[in-house]
Symmetry: C2
Subunit: 245 residues, 2 copies
């Protein structure tokens, strides 16, 4: 199921034209681009690359050359500590951009595929050139970078001031929204990451994550069986967040 269910009806047709080959919605969807510009954006896609489950798309410290748009699949990005401890900085799916932290030098983190995936390669040199010619794209690119910063700030808020159940509820609601945006079910999905990876991302130990899944299930908020999750009560999950004294 790689076809995209567009959620911006007005932009749907244009999207089909420009991004049928690759999910560039992040870069071109909301911008008002003329057809000619759209063609140039499409040409940014230098090539595609398959990444098998467990393989790295790029490694921390590796020379930066391109940004990647995920065509299909699922990734985690992470940082490695001196002592080998991992901090998962994010999970990325279908249609999202990856590798922007490397701009201006070397990749800061590592991106690892959690299932067989395919990405579009957007060489930075090309982006530079095209965004110079197309102000709308330049603005768009900056906006994407800014949104990444805002996203990270949200996670900082989560890690800095939420309790364990709030973190997991936030995580599930976020995943749900993103699946919905992409035309998948927002209430039933398959987690591609392990409890350990979820824990690393949320600043919790894997046992805590597992316990919380069980607790949420007991409360009738979700149904879990290993990696399969069904959300039974979205409002209930939101109430977990609202219940902060």
């Amino acid at each position: 199921m790689n076809s995209v269910t567009a959620i911006h009806p007005a932009a749907a047709s244009k999207f089909e034209v420009t991004c049928s080959s690759c999910n560039l919605r992040e870069l071109c969807l909301p911008a008002g681009l003329c057809d000619e510009d759209l063609q140039r954006v499409e040409n940014l896609v230098y090539a595609r690359r398959r990444v098998k489950r467990g393989e790295a798309l790029y490694q921390a410290g590796g020379e930066f050359s391109a940004v990647y748009a995920i065509r299909s699949g699922f990734f985690k990005t992470s940082l490695l500590d001196n002592d080998g401890r991992e901090q998962v900085t994010g999970f990325f799916m279908n249609g999202e951009l990856l590798g922007m932290d490397g701009i201006g030098g070397a990749y800061h983190g590592t991106a690892i595929s959690l299932e067989d995936s395919e990405v579009c390669i957007l060489p930075y040199a090309l982006i530079e050139d095209v965004s110079r010619d197309i102000p709308a794209l330049q603005r768009r690119l900056h906006a994407v970078l800014a949104r990444e910063i805002a996203r990270d700030h949200g996670i900082m808020m989560l890690l800095g001031s939420m309790r364990a159940e709030e973190r997991l509820a936030t995580f599930l609601l976020n995943l749900s929204k993103r699946f919905l945006r992409r035309g998948y079910s927002s209430t039933e999905f398959h987690l591609r990451m392990t409890r350990d990876e979820i824990g690393s991302h949320l600043g919790l130990k894997l046992e805590t994550v597992s316990r919380l899944f069980s607790a949420f299930q007991k409360e009738g908020l979700i149904e879990v069986q290993q990696k399969h999750v069904r959300i039974l009560d979205i409002a209930g999950l939101e109430r977990v967040l609202a219940a902060r004294r």
Copy 2:
């Protein structure tokens, strides 16, 4: 003491030329710009603005129009929760850039001055134009945004996987490095933020922060008296980090 002690000898003279009026080192220092370009970069500085202690430079949700370079003073940036809880996302000083999270719409967080400060206003529209003409600046701008992302990832690592003492040690070492870079003492400085703000930034309660300061003092790592800090044993602080099992 607003004069900047340049740390890149080669670029020092140029820096003096272009940035004497405002600390634009973030944007122009490492890039290979010709004199003419430097002039254009300097012209980015549309105006200056004084911000009194406690005042907001910009507010979350406010329309984005400019990025700010801190000429003198000290700021915190923070997010406000639905319930009014604050997460401090960073502290910014002399020569650093602020407000990039707003690019592409509205400011995502709030920036509040922790002492009487002065900033240079860099209107985004101008940056857009100039960076289109000067590839080096464009690359530089992207790099600044990417560095912000990398910085946030570092904080995520701190919040997600470090224990309280490691967090405070990291915080102190980071401040120390930044003061050094700007020509101030790296071992003795005045904290402009409260224990509560430090705690919010590090994901700790203010009492915990206070206790840790006392503990570090007892161990001979630092000397603290209220907001005045002297670092006695940098290597010792680094050992706090290394001692992660």
